[in-house]
């Protein structure tokens, strides 16, 4: 290839060379040369025209989380770029591999407050793994390659490439003979043997050991290794919000989710355990509660690919820096088989005496629709039919989904965890639906989050996507905030009462199927109808409005200190 190409064509060519099959974006002034060139590449990769750049960013995240590959989103300079900030921050917090490409004003006017100029590299510096402002066409091949490499290796994350319009328009013969020069970037993959032996020694001597599995297990593709390790050692397994699916919940060694809305027996087990091995989790405060009181009796082993996570929130006795898969393989090699102990029985007893899934699903004998009815029916259906991904948004519905669906496969549960981005689910489902055209992509979201990004329904229709089914758990409130106001602020419902349109009719207006369910009896038929409809479906489940998520650790409290169920009537109310 010795012909001259424009910078924009080189950008397209670079995407092809990285094996990109789909990108999500919106054109605009400063990125127009790229879109001009993309027209010639429409057979090489697909472009999904979103309705808002935030949607494009979350769609790229959804694609990435469903596949493990790098998601790509594109926007123009200024407002286009700033609209990507939320998904970039989301990808940063959840270690999602993302490359965001933005157009920038011409290098001749950069720094002069030109039309639609924003310092997007400055803005995204604290929320990207790395970012670039490219002003010279000659830098494009190298930067694109490095961006994809950084986004996808080590601890994955978002990388932003901001390219000036004149660099896109210039012409040159590209040099693809690229050798990455990253002397300061060498992720450690193989765990240190000495530390692995130290971990094995701790685990071997433990009476009450626990495994905590996080997102790292899923990203490293280490679910098989985790299973082997757990079965060989008989150690009970906890899965964090992002670890859901890393270990099947119907496995006899699975005990469930920890943290703010985790199960009582799981948090109690953490508080009692004598050795805790965290594999690929970052001890988020939603997991630890008050960190100084977390796992007070435990000697902690922390496996993470990012050294900076180790010792950041929780004191750690054995640090293992490495890739979860390779570390688990080494642990399996070194660790002698071990019999399951009375410890597991003890945890099961705790489980039996505290609220757990089944008790939680017991319902009052009325026909009033409870949120849990939807989850019970969905859980049954998902088990029967298989072949699904569930994308959740942020709030009460998200915690209920994490609690009440029996997660069994990696990447089947996709949510916004660290950043807690309302509005994530619908566009992320768009990305997941493109990644997995043969699967049913269920969205579970609240009426609040749905109203933040539902414009992407138009994108879904325009792109002919038919495998998305959206369940809105509609309680007419910003429910999680309302719950906190109820429990901790004396029912001062300050600005949490939320109206909305008739979602079924809104869906019809977008050209997708809309349904409304207001009774228990209506749930299963609606889900059945959703499967039978060859196209995207929105089901508005109008649920009992003031239902709370329990159990719950109040913020700043120890995880041993849970509110297990609805407190009896507040005397001051």
């Amino acid at each position: 290839m010795s012909e001259k190409m424009t910078g924009a064509h080189i950008m397209c060519e670079a995407l092809v060379r990285e094996g990109v099959e789909v990108i999500f974006g919106i054109p605009g002034g400063a990125i127009m040369p790229f879109y001009y060139a993309m027209y010639e590449y429409r057979d090489k990769f697909r472009h999904i025209l979103c309705r808002h750049e935030q949607g494009a960013g979350h769609a790229a995240e959804g694609y990435a989380r469903a596949t493990g590959r790098v998601g790509v989103c594109v926007a123009t300079s200024g407002p286009g770029a700033t609209n990507l900030v939320t998904p970039i921050a989301d990808a940063w917090m959840d270690s999602t591999p993302l490359v965001a490409i933005t157009g920038q004003v011409s290098s001749l006017v950069v720094g002069k407050d030109a039309f639609q100029e924003t310092d997007i590299t400055g803005i995204t510096m604290p929320i990207t793994k790395h970012n670039y402002l490219v002003k010279r066409i000659d830098d494009i091949p190298y930067v694109m390659k490095e961006a994809f490499y950084l986004a996808s290796t080590g601890r994955p994350g978002p990388v932003l490439v901001d390219i000036t319009k004149d660099a896109q328009q210039a012409r040159t013969v590209p040099n693809w003979d690229i050798k990455l020069a990253l002397p300061g970037y060498k992720p450690t993959l193989q765990g240190n043997r000495k530390q692995i032996r130290a971990a094995v020694e701790l685990l071997t001597g433990a009476q009450k050991p626990l495994i905590m599995a996080g997102n790292g297990v899923i990203m490293a593709g280490a679910t098989e290794e985790l299973r082997t390790f757990a079965e060989r050692t008989g150690i009970p397994v906890i899965t964090t919000l992002h670890g859901l699916g890393a270990f099947p919940e119907d496995h006899p060694l699975s005990i469930g989710m920890p943290g703010m809305h985790g199960w009582v027996h799981v948090n109690r087990a953490i508080q009692e355990c004598d050795v805790l091995i965290n594999i690929g989790g970052r001890f988020d405060d939603r997991v630890t509660g008050k960190a100084s009181t977390f796992a007070p009796n435990a000697r902690v082993i922390h496996v993470d690919i990012d050294p900076s996570e180790i010792g950041k929130n929780v004191r750690t006795e054995v640090p293992i820096v490495g890739d979860a898969k390779l570390v688990l393989q080494a642990l399996i090699e070194e660790m002698p088989p071990r019999e399951a102990t009375a410890w597991m029985q003890h945890i099961r007893q705790l489980q039996a005496t505290h609220q757990h899934k089944q008790q939680y699903l017991n319902r009052p004998d009325t026909n009033q629709l409870m949120p849990h009815d939807v989850y019970a029916a969905l859980n049954r259906t998902l088990k029967e039919r298989g072949n699904y991904r569930v994308i959740t948004d942020v709030g009460q519905h998200q915690m209920w989904a994490a609690q009440l669906i029996d997660w069994s496969r990696p990447r089947s549960h996709i949510t916004s965890g660290g950043s807690g981005t309302m509005g994530f689910a619908v566009p992320a489902a768009l990305g997941a639906a493109i990644a997995c055209p043969d699967e049913t992509i269920w969205v579970i979201c609240g009426d609040g989050g749905f109203q933040m990004t539902n414009q992407e329904l138009a994108t879904i229709v325009q792109e002919g996507i038919t495998n998305i089914k959206i369940a809105i758990i509609n309680n007419g409130y910003l429910g999680m905030v309302r719950q906190w106001q109820e429990l901790f602020e004396d029912r001062r419902y300050s600005h949490t009462l939320l109206s909305g349109p008739d979602f079924a009719r809104l869906a019809e207006a977008y050209g997708v199927c809309g349904m409304t369910v207001e009774t228990v009896d209506g749930v299963e038929p609606a889900i059945e109808a959703a499967y039978n409809h060859k196209g995207t479906v929105v089901i508005d489940f109008r649920v009992e409005r003031e239902v709370n998520v329990f159990p719950m650790v109040p913020q700043g409290k120890s995880i041993g200190d849970m509110i297990e169920q609805q407190p009896t009537a507040n005397p001051t109310a």
């Binding site: 002397p183 050294p307 180790i310 820096v321």
Partner: protein
């Protein structure tokens, strides 16, 4: 809180200083001084920073997350030469000028500018010595002062060379953990 002196080597790429400084701000690290300049290796900058922190290990690890950072060393407890320079414009009169000159000589400082009512003194030395000098000269009236912040170098044969880290891709991890 203990003060730590860190020496960091980093690739001289656009924005690297901003990245480091932005990192300190958002992680809430309290930086007492930060000095950056060229190292002996072309393309590699060297930074000396003094940080007041219980969690200096987090500072080091967060620095390593920057793609450009090659090596960070805590030299606080190492035998090291630590120096700082100050330019001090001191108010003077015909009657006290010689007193200032004497003090300057006692501190091995240099007078680099003399005018009717002021003298500029260039004081280089260990941070303690510079501080002592400033304290002693202050009663005369300091009109202006610029201190550079600390630079540090470990004594003896041990080095922190940029060339140890560039072009050495095969040598396994460079900027990874302090554990392994």
């Amino acid at each position: 809180m203990k003060k730590h002196t860190l020496v960091a080597l980093m690739q001289d790429r656009p924005g690297v200083l901003t990245r480091a400084v932005s990192l300190f701000r958002r992680r809430g690290f309290n930086i007492e001084s930060l000095t950056v300049g060229h190292s002996e290796t072309p393309g590699i900058s060297r930074m000396t920073l003094v940080v007041e922190s219980e969690a200096v290990e987090q500072v080091v690890k967060q620095l390593y997350r920057l793609i450009e950072v090659l090596k960070v060393s805590d030299v606080t407890d190492d035998p090291a030469v630590e120096r700082e320079m100050a330019l001090v414009k001191v108010h003077c009169t015909n009657t006290n000028r010689s007193e200032i000159v004497t003090l300057t000589q006692l501190f091995d400082a240099k007078i680099v500018d003399v005018a009717n009512t002021s003298i500029i003194v260039e004081m280089t030395g260990s941070p303690n010595k510079v501080q002592n000098f400033v304290d002693v000269i202050r009663p005369f009236g300091i009109k202006e002062m610029m201190r550079t912040g600390r630079v540090a170098m470990v004594r003896g044969a041990r080095t922190h060379q940029g060339s140890d880290y560039v072009g050495a891709e095969e040598n396994g991890h460079v900027a990874a953990s302090t554990w392994n």
